[in-house]
Structures are given as structure tokens and as C-alpha cells.
């Protein structure tokens, strides 16, 4: 109970800081703050159509968050999640290109999803091996691999996979309709994607709470130096965590290709990987909280699309709010840790 009160106090404090900061920015930009907040709300939850759009953003965001929970458990900063989404999309597209004639779509779709998961996992494993064998910090390896993945996508779109006759930033040839994930036409939302996310959340929760792997990840993450006491090899579990993170990210990439864009785009990952890092941190690494935070971020993202049209504001305002949110959360957290530390020191003296 005490913990709950403390966390809600922290949460409310964070929100106040964020809104104060964002309002200040809006006032400086000469925009009416209340109108801007209203537009974001209306633009994200104002209609079923818009809600559908929000959920289409929420799906990859939540999948990436689920994956990141594994790596955060073992204290790895899998910033390469962005590239893992991209490679998932690339592998998916690779498989689907064999089925462009529209025969046996289900088989191709299934194979494409498996390939997408594998693609993300392989990309994550490269970073994992660089970490465990080469001693290269996963942040640097991951960031580097993100650039490589982006370059691969651009090369494919402008090179081997370019549309006949033209090559443009708008991506590869549109997939035939048979290879699109089935969707509810009214809100253009695929129930397959939703189901997969639900499964991902439940599997992650089970894995982390009830399996030995989950326990080992947490143990090694909490104290690498004591792993020897329990005969655990940290390297193996780091790789396992990377496989899970990459797999979920790759799945997000698959859904982006088959369910949202129906082709491979340069911006196929839409920075959802980076955003997911923020989501997980903000949710205090909790499986059940992060989907909610992801939903909030998705609303911000979708809602701010209308800002330029309605208020002549730049749509990057959602980025400002998200950034402010994370900074504020970190600041409030740091402040709390500091006051806790000071209290303990006072006890000590």
C-alpha cells in the first residue's frame, strides 16, 4: 500500500512537470495550450477510425516493449531494437516476394512471420555475440546495427527490390491483397495483430514470472558477480534475452509490412523501437503497465498528426511531450532515489 502511494505520488508529480513544461513550450510558440491538448485528444480518440489508427501504432510499440522487458531484466540496453524491427520487416518482405502471384497466401504469411521473427532475433544475436564474445557494449553494437539495417533497407528499395521502372522512397511494390493481414474494414485494424500482441503480453508475463529463464534473467541482472554462486553462465542468458527481444521486434516488423504498409518502406520501423525503450522505462519495467504507457504514447503520436492543420503547429509536439515525459520521469525518479539515499545516510550517521 505504501509503495502504491509512493508510486502514484511520483506519477502525478511527473505529469505535473510534463504539462507545465509542454504548456510553457506551447506558450512560447504562441499556440493556445488547451486547444492543442484538445486537438491531440480528439485526433487520437475522437472516432473509431482514429482509435483504429492508434491501435495500429500501439501494436508494434507494445511488441517491442515486451521484447525489451527481457533485455532490461538482465540489465542489457538493447537499443538495437530499432534495427531488429527493420530486419524483421526485411525478412518478411523477402519471403512474401516469392508469393507475389497470390497462391497459397496463408502458407506464405505464416512463413513470412517466422522469417520476420528469425530476422529480428538474428540481428539481436549479432549484438549479443559482440557483447558476450567481443566485450563490445550492447548500446554501441545496437546503434551501429541500426544504421546498417537502415542502409540495407534503402539498398533493397533502390536496388534489387525496386519497383519495375522506378525506384523511390515510397518503398517496394505493393503486396497483392491476398498477402495482407485480414482486417476489419471499418477501422482498418487487423485482429491477427491484436491477437499476437495479446499473446506476446501473456507469454512475457508468464516467462518472467513463472519460468526459470525469467528468474535467471532477473538474478543475473540484479548481480552479475554472484552468478557463479548459482552456476549460471551470464553469457548464455544474455543471448537468450537478446533472442526474445529481437524476436518480438522482428514480429513487430512483420506486422508493419503485412498489416499496415503492405510493402517495405525506408521508415518501416517508424522509431517505434526507440519509443519502446521509453515506454518500458516509464512503466518501471512492468509487463502490465507498459501496454498502458504504450497506448498513451500511441495516442500522443497519432493525435499530434492534426496539429499542423488545425493550429499551424509542428507535429513534432508529440515528440516534445514524449521526451519531456521521460526526462521528467527520470528526474522525479532520481530525486526520489536521492532523498531515499539521504534518509539512509541520516540513519547511518
Amino acid at each position: 500500500m505504501e509503495i502504491f502511494i509512493r508510486y502514484s505520488r511520483e506519477f502525478i508529480l511527473t505529469l505535473i512537470v510534463v504539462f507545465a513544461f509542454t504548456t510553457l513550450i506551447l506558450l512560447l510558440a504562441g499556440a493556445p495550450p488547451l486547444a492543442a491538448y484538445y486537438q491531440i485528444f480528439k485526433g487520437s480518440l475522437g472516432s473509431w477510425m482514429k482509435l483504429g489508427h492508434v491501435i495500429r501504432v500501439w501494436i508494434p510499440l507494445t511488441l517491442c516493449s515486451c521484447g525489451l522487458l527481457y533485455t532490461f531484466r538482465i540489465n542489457l540496453w538493447n537499443i538495437g531494437v530499432e534495427g531488429q524491427v527493420m530486419m524483421g520487416a526485411v525478412f518478411t518482405t523477402f519471403v512474401l516476394r516469392f508469393g507475389m502471384d497470390g497462391h497459397m497466401p496463408l502458407m506464405y504469411l505464416c512463413a513470412a512471420f517466422v522469417a520476420g521473427i528469425a530476422g529480428g532475433a538474428i540481428w539481436a544475436l549479432i549484438a549479443g555475440y559482440l557483447k558476450t564474445k567481443g566485450g563490445i557494449h550492447e548500446i554501441f553494437a545496437g546503434l551501429g546495427l541500426n544504421f546498417v539495417a537502415q542502409a540495407i533497407i534503402l539498398w533493397l528499395i533502390f536496388g534489387p527490390w525496386k519497383r519495375s521502372g522506378i525506384a523511390s522512397m515510397s518503398g517496394t511494390e505493393l503486396l497483392p491483397r491476398e498477402l495482407w493481414l485480414p482486417y476489419v474494414s471499418h477501422i482498418r485494424l487487423s485482429p491477427v495483430g491484436l491477437t499476437l500482441v495479446a499473446i506476446a503480453i501473456v507469454v512475457t508475463a508468464l516467462m518472467l514470472r513463472y519460468t526459470k529463464t525469467g528468474l535467471y534473467l532477473r538474478a543475473i541482472g540484479s548481480n552479475l558477480n554472484a552468478a557463479h554462486m548459482f552456476d549460471l553462465d551470464p553469457r548464455i542468458y544474455m543471448l537468450i534475452a537478446m533472442i526474445f527481444a529481437g524476436g518480438f521486434a522482428g514480429l513487430a516488423g512483420s506486422i508493419q509490412v503485412t498489416g499496415v504498409y503492405h510493402r517495405l518502406l525506408p521508415a518501416i520501423s517508424s522509431n517505434y523501437g526507440y519509443l519502446a525503450l521509453l515506454v518500458v522505462m516509464l512503466s518501471n519495467y512492468n509487463v502490465w503497465v507498459s501496454p498502458a504507457v504504450a497506448f498513451f504514447f500511441a495516442c500522443l503520436n497519432v493525435g499530434s498528426i492534426q496539429l499542423p492543420m488545425m493550429l499551424q503547429l509542428d507535429s513534432s509536439l508529440s515528440g516534445v511531450i514524449q521526451g519531456a515525459l521521460v526526462l521528467a520521469a527520470l528526474a522525479v525518479h532520481a530525486w526520489r532515489m536521492r532523498s531515499k539515499l539521504l534518509e539512509e545516510q541520516a540513519d547511518y550517521e
Partner: protein, 486 residues
Amino acid sequence: MWIELKDIHKHYGSVKANNGVTLTVKPGTIHGILGENGAGKSTLMKILAGYIGKTSGKILVNGSVEDYHTPAQAAKLGIGMLYQEPLDFPPLTVLDNFMIGQTWGIKNQKNFFRKELESLINHFDFTLYADDTVKRLTVGERQQLEILRLLALGIEVLILDEPTTGISREQKEALFQALRKFASEGKSVILVSHKLQDSEALCDTITILREGVVTGAVDQPYDEDTLLEMMFGVPPGTPSRSAVEYGETVLSMKQVCGTGGRTGLSDCTVSIKQGEMVGLAGLEGSGQGVFLRLAGGITQPPAGSIELLGEEVQGKSLHAFKKAGVVFLPTSRLEEGLMPGLSITEHFALQSHDDGFFVKWHEASETAQTRIKKFRVMGTPESAVESLSGGNQQRLLLSLLSKDSSLLLLEQPTRGLDVESANWVWQHLHKYCLRRTSVVFSSSDLDEILMVADRVLVFFDGRIVKDVRKNETNIDELTRAIVGRV
């Protein structure tokens, strides 16, 4: 410059590192501070150097009370300290390091400082070159540089904390020469050491600390036995224990070397039999920790061979050591032994190595409950391990050990425990010996080693300098061996 410390107290919680220390350092003398590890020497010197604050007490410099809180303020008063680890900038040259903190503004004063540095080097017969990069220097040379730097800052009282650890004999001679010269110029030197030989050779007067209080102050000439008694106190009688029959050789090391710690480990050859209780004596960081980690497979030896139950194991993974039944329990329980943030139940879940995919939480919780009772851990299965006291953490660690271990390696298993907890630990470990498990432990408390061990290995400067059965030795012999007098 006269330095007077009056009734200095430094308390860390309930631990009294200094408990009313009073001493006077006269100008033009070399003053030794002698004592075993944890006697409070370093704490006292860090207080004098302004590095840490004191709980109570007064420091008088030339008769007037001074209240300062930082090393910089201390340096202004003329008090400077040479730390065990040199505080310099390895990528820069000797000259650059010498100039740091002395020169301001944009004017290039290199030539001026070069002359000053070179004249100081000549004055003390040091072996430094102004243009060498500091990272290529030996520890002894870096020490020389640090001393010159302190001198140039106008230091009148030079404090040295264990300066002879890790330097060559020639460098030690050069250092002692320089310190004598320094003192003959009317300045004072405070030498902190646990090495009898060094203190005797250099100091005009020696103050001995034990457990945070001054146990004696003597002038030359010194009587070694008196010094030792002041350092270690008078040993109590040693109780006997039920005899254990020894079995085959469990651990055998041949010419093993190791790195780490202050001294590393060199040329270690030893074998340990089933059921033996072996105590590793020596001042902290003399190689015991390195030895235990090598035997436990935590680190790999660069040279030499290690056999467990007749099988070569060096170069093999930790898993191979574990399979042979070797367990290592480190001193820092929370840093290297337990998982902070995880509960007691979760630790038992980690420990059970069955093949299932899911954690058997129910089973783990039951195990936790029974072991908590059996090992008298003050806590519940849900308690996070970091909330337990040191003694309870140690009991928990012991309760996690499997019964059929072949070799237990314990680093200071009773450190920070009260007498009752410590006795409980020893009784428990004795049961392991009766089951023919070998127990090897280090301890900084000789009395404890003599009380519980069957055999004593004394470490000094990274070597085993003595290997005796307990009943063939006595505390005098061991205390001498600890400070390098074999």
C-alpha cells in the same frame, strides 16, 4: 611543524574505526603508525589529510586548532598525503603531472617547471625523467613523482600510506633516503605500515594502534616482541576440537601464479586433503583472496597447474569446478554472493537445478521455510536478501550450499559477525569436515584461525611463507610470519 591529534573519534554506525586517538608528531622526525588491518591507521591518516571528516576530536597545527574538510585545505596548512594508489594522470608526462595544480593562466611556464622538477629529482636522487609518460612508470616511480609534487606544493608534513607495497628494493632504498633527507630539513614524515621491518628501519618513534585505540608509543631502539604484542594483543587459550580423519587429496596446486588483489599470488604449491580445515592467515590482500578465487575457478591462473580430486582443472570453465563440488563464498556477500532485490525464496529457486522449465515456487518456498528455521535466519521467505543483517546473510549463504560439496572456499566467513553468529558458523563448518569436505577459509583474526583450523597457511606479499599444523606452532611464530619474519 607540530601536529597534535587529540581524542579523535571516527564512528561508522556502531563500528568505531577510531576510538579516542591522541598523538603528537614532532617536526624533523619520521613517525611510524603501526597496526594490523582494520586497526584504524588509514582512517586516522585520512582524517589528518582532510580526506574524511571526524566524528569528534581536535587537530592542532603548531598549537592552534584547525578545522578543515578537504585535502586542498589540508595542503594549504602544509599537510599532504601519498595514497596507496597514486593519484596522477597516466597519459600525461612526468612534467605535465608535476605542473598540474601549480600553474595557471595561458603563459607557457614549462621551462621554469622543468628546471624546478630536475633540481628536485637531483636533490633526492630519484630516477625520474621529465618527458616520460606516467603510464610507463613503475609504481615506485609514480610514488616519487607524487612526493615531488607534494613538496612543490609546500608540504611540511608528508603522510605515506603503505608506501613499500609493490615497489622494488632499490626504489624502497631511494624512498627511505629521500624521507630521511626530508626529515633532516625540519619537516615531518608519518609512515603508515603493517610491516615491522620498514617501520623499525626508518622511524624515530612508533605509535601502535589496535582496534581504533593507541596501545603504545615507543622510541628507538625497538623490542620486536613488545611491538608484536601491542599490535596483536595477548592471545587467549585455544580450545580443542574433535579430531577428523583426513582422506585423499582434494585440491592440489603446483607453482600456480595469479593476478589481482594488491600482491597477486606467486609460485603457490600446496595440497589439501579431505576433511581438513585450513586457515589462511596474513594481512588483508596478501594473496589469500587470489588463492581462494583460483581454487574456486572464479579466475584462471596464468601459470601453474591445479588439480581437483586428481583431475586437471585449470583452464576449464567454472561449471567444471562446480561439478567437482567446489564452492567459493566471497567476503562481500551482497556484492558477489547474493542477488540484491531477490527474496530468500527466489534464492532457493535459483539453487534448485532440476530440469523443469517452470520454477517450482511452491517447493522453493517450502525449502526456504525449512532452511530459515534450520539455519536460524532472521527473516521470512519473502524478505529481500539486502534487508538481512550480515550474520543472517552469511547463514543464508551457508544454507544454500549443497551437502555433498567436496571443497568449501570461504573468504573471511565471519567478518562483521558477532561472536555468537561466528561460533554458529564454525560449528556448522565443522560438520562439513566430519563429512570429509575440505574447508579452506581466510581470516584476518589469528586467534580465530588458531581456534578452529587444523592447519595454517600464512600469506605474505603474495606468497605462502608458512605451512604448519596448528599444534606445531604458536601465536608468536604466526604473528612474525604475517609481517614477513619467517
